[in-house]
């Protein structure tokens, strides 16, 4: 047997957080008498440098060889204290963290019973750590390349930064073009920077970087592995253009298949063979196979190709190629979609002049800038009404849930600024236009954003404030001077009911998460209540997820372009740190077979979802070979389905053996005596 077990128990006050509900002195006193406990101490902040030093000194001077800290959640400080053990030269896995804050002091009402509960939990820890053995992390070789999913600005920025760092990046975009949402905007708030220029420059930098490979029309359809090493299956769909006909525009005019163009947010129609008007890459036509998924439509398309003798030019059917790549890390830059109002929401779909903010931006791109009047659908627009918070900040009982039954309770962050910026733009183009904004709170929070708001007021944009319970009502008028009248109880004018005439209603729609269920399930990425991807912790690990995937930009939640850039760059720096290492130290908490008990029943192999176990010939003693189960340490995730499946109790999770836990339970139920 190795050296004598000497346990140090350290009980943290966490200021008052623990000490006001748990008698920490008593806890230390009672536990000091437990078998194998060499020291038991309490301290105001165990995580402080002084607290850490105290433990370090005890290890060095008193020969403590097992450490228990009872403090806040291990999520916050397990690593901190493991670091202490390492600095003191003790194996960091000889540490047990007991949570007496989130799971004792904060949830208890009675100090006496809370103290007893803390004692029981720590006794459990003592029982477990007593049988704990020194463990070494499993070293995993890092694949020094990265997959970035999504070719919007966030994906482009992540890829660009990593590429410039010399890391090989595969940028995977689902649609035939990279550029994303920002490519569709015009001028960005607050500094009027041209979105097209920004995206053009990014695309240039990314496509010229020899470390970056761009895959459009591509999706990840399968993947396995974990941080440091994934193998990922990518499916790429052909663009469908064999050779571009010279007179493509003429040819396309005969194409019978037309859809509402998603590129213009449904404002215009376009052909099934297309290329966006805004900046994108590659600047080559593609066939919109997604909108030919209906067999009838596909037949119609084929017929047209054949009849127009275009078989040499266009593919009749898409071809799908698959490839497998190996990467060390994956960044999700999967972006957002604009909220789609329900039919009738502020007149949506009931009148062509009810448009969304992205649509208005498209409309303004197309207007004749020499005109002194705003003309849309052939009629002069004299008054525009913006309605804020459409699809955002929804409140139970006051708003109608979406098709999934969920409310978008969150603020979409970009819309106040984008709306006011667009209102100012309108006033610049058409000084005589009446512009109204119906809002709940104006959230112009950036350093230059408030100036835009002030400018809008100076520009005579009229602001009307409503309460979510009494939303503005849009009434469509027939054959009258104006298309709409909008009634609202305006808080800024004594809650009087006011009627505002308008020719156009603009809905400032929020951001919603895109449909990426398949991707999310391949890599088991968590999502928050809002449906966006969930970071492991908003401050400690803001761009990391609990499954090892990294997040960039609006995949994580609403952000404006500048914030998405920061998020994407932050994700890149974290990934750069991973791939700059040759090896990652993985958790040693994986399955281990006790070959003296193993009968090679194969039950464990059957239940393992990760193909991490196989039954092979093992030399059990010199010259004697038997069939035994064997675990592959880089594939095993330590989930433990094999443990309860084994009829011989021959397989255990290292560091979490059933025997340790049975001991814990016995220790925890023991009476606590005064």
């Amino acid at each position: 047997m190795s050296e004598k077990v000497k346990i140090g128990v350290y009980v943290c006050h966490c200021g008052f957080n623990i000490a006001e509900m748990v008698d920490v002195k008593k806890v230390a006193e009672v536990l000091g008498k437990e078998e194998d406990v060499e020291v038991a101490k309490d301290f105001i902040f165990m995580c402080s440098d002084a607290g850490q030093k105290m433990i370090e000194n005890d290890i060095k001077e008193k020969g403590i060889n097992r450490v228990i800290v009872a403090s806040c959640s291990p999520l916050l400080h397990e690593k901190t204290f493991q670091g202490v053990l390492e600095r003191a030269g003790l194996n960091k896995f000889l540490f047990e963290h007991i949570n007496i804050r989130e799971q004792v002091s904060w949830v208890s009402k009675n100090k006496e019973s809370a103290t007893e509960k803390a004692i029981r939990l720590i006794r459990g820890g003592i029982a477990k750590i007593r049988k704990q053995q020194a463990l070494e992390p499993i070293l995993k070789k890092v694949t020094k390349s990265v997959a970035v999913i999504g070719g919007g600005v966030a994906g482009l920025i992540s890829a660009k930064n990593l590429g410039e760092m010399g890391v090989d990046v595969t940028l995977i975009e689902k649609s035939p073009f990279i550029g994303g949402m920002v490519a569709r905007w015009d001028k960005l708030f607050p500094n009027d920077e041209n979105a097209q220029d920004i995206v053009r420059k990014l695309i240039e930098e990314v496509k010229d970087n020899k470390h970056i490979r761009i895959l459009t029309n591509s999706q990840i359809v399968g993947g396995k592995g974990s941080l440091g090493g994934y193998s990922v299956t990518i499916e790429t769909i052909s663009r469908g253009i064999k050779r571009l006909p010279e007179n493509i525009e003429n040819i396309l005019s005969s194409c019978p298949i037309e859809i509402d163009s998603p590129e213009s947010f449904g404002l215009e129609k376009r052909k099934i063979v297309y290329k966006p008007e805004y900046i994108c890459y590659p600047e080559e036509y593609a066939i919109d196979w997604d909108n030919l998924s209906d067999a009838k439509e596909l037949e119609k398309y084929k017929k047209w190709v054949k009849e127009s003798n275009l078989e040499e030019k266009f593919e009749l059917e898409k071809t799908v190629t698959k490839e497998e790549i190996n990467v060390g890390a994956i960044i999700f830059a999967t972006g957002f979609e604009p909220y789609e109002p329900y039919e009738g929401e502020y007149g949506w779909k009931k009148h062509p002049n009810v448009v969304t903010l992205p649509q208005l931006i498209e409309i303004l791109k197309r207007v004749d800038k020499n005109q002194t009047h705003f003309v849309y659908n052939g009629k002069e627009i004299k008054s525009v009404a913006f309605i804020h918070c459409v699809g955002s900040r929804q409140i139970e009982g006051e708003d109608i849930p979406g098709p999934d039954g969920k409310l978008n309770t969150y603020c979409s962050r970009y819309c106040c600024n984008a709306t006011i910026h667009t209102a100012n733009e309108l006033k610049k183009l058409y000084p005589n236009l009446h512009v109204y904004e119906f809002y709940r709170d104006i959230r112009t929070y950036g350093l230059d954003d408030e100036d835009m708001y002030t400018k809008a007021s100076k520009n005579d944009v009229i602001f009307l404030r409503f309460n979510n319970e009494y939303k503005p009502e849009v009434q469509i008028l027939e054959n009258e001077k104006y298309n709409f009248v909008i009634s609202v109880k305006d808080q800024l004018s004594y809650y009087e009911e006011v009627d505002i005439p308008a020719d156009m209603v603009v809905l400032s729609v929020g951001m919603v998460p895109p449909q990426i269920d398949d991707l999310v399930s391949i890599f088991t990425v968590s999502r928050g209540n809002d449906g966006f991807l969930l970071e492991a912790h908003p401050k400690l690990k803001p761009v990391e997820t609990s499954s090892g995937i990294f997040l960039a930009g609006t995949a994580q939640g609403p952000m404006n372009a500048s914030e998405a850039a920061a998020g994407a760059t932050a994700a890149a720096v974290k990934v750069a740190a991973v791939v700059s290492k040759d090896e990652l130290a993985l958790s040693p908490f994986i399955a281990r077979v006790d070959i003296t008990k193993c009968d090679a029943t194969g039950k464990c192999v059957e239940v393992c979802e990760y193909n991490a176990i196989e039954v092979t010939e093992v030399e059990v003693e010199k010259g004697k070979v038997e069939r035994k189960a064997q675990v592959n340490p880089t594939l095993c995730v330590g989930g433990g389905t094999c443990v309860s499946a084994c009829p011989n109790q021959a397989i255990r999770i290292v560091g979490w053996t059933n025997e340790q836990i049975e001991d814990m339970i016995t220790a925890m139920i023991k009476e606590v005596k005064e």
Binding site: S73, N110, S547, Y610, T641, I661
Partner: protein, 139 residues
């Protein structure tokens, strides 16, 4: 059988809550961060996944003196593929043994708690507390 179960002596009102390291343990933490109160008799342990426990483990734990057990699985959020289904099978098998031994099956509950599900966590604990209180009074 039911008769037997009711007459059975439950030593303590102590509840063992088995959580998963990555998910349901955090659900319990979330309840703590929101300062939601629950019985001090509820003791939480964490494991990679409760699927590691064979069915007889639960029976042994009750026999050691725990009044009830809540197995807080990660449900669909589990990072381990298919573990919840296998865990459910283990729990079913445990119920079978409990029935054979005349132990009230209400003392073992399987539930799924997500990492932010403070509400459902509290509900599960309160239900078990209430149940154990009622059994206790009948003694």
């Amino acid at each position: 059988m039911q008769q037997n179960a009711k007459r059975q002596k439950i030593k303590t009102k102590k509840i063992l809550i088995i959580t998963t390291n990555d998910i349901s343990y955090l659900g319990a933490d979330t309840a703590g961060q929101q300062h939601l109160k629950y019985s001090e008799d509820a003791l939480i342990i964490r494991v990679p996944d409760p699927v590691i426990f064979p069915p007889d483990f639960y029976v042994r734990t009750l026999e050691k003196g725990f009044g009830g057990i809540i197995v807080a699985s990660a449900g669909d959020e589990s990072p381990f593929l298919n573990s919840h289904a296998r865990l459910a099978k283990n729990i079913d098998a445990a119920y079978k043994i409990m029935n054979e031994k005349g132990i009230d099956t209400k003392r073992l509950v399987l539930t799924a708690i997500c990492s932010i599900c403070a509400g459902s966590f509290i509900k599960a604990v309160n239900n078990m507390t209430k149940y154990l209180d009622s059994v206790h009074e009948q003694e």
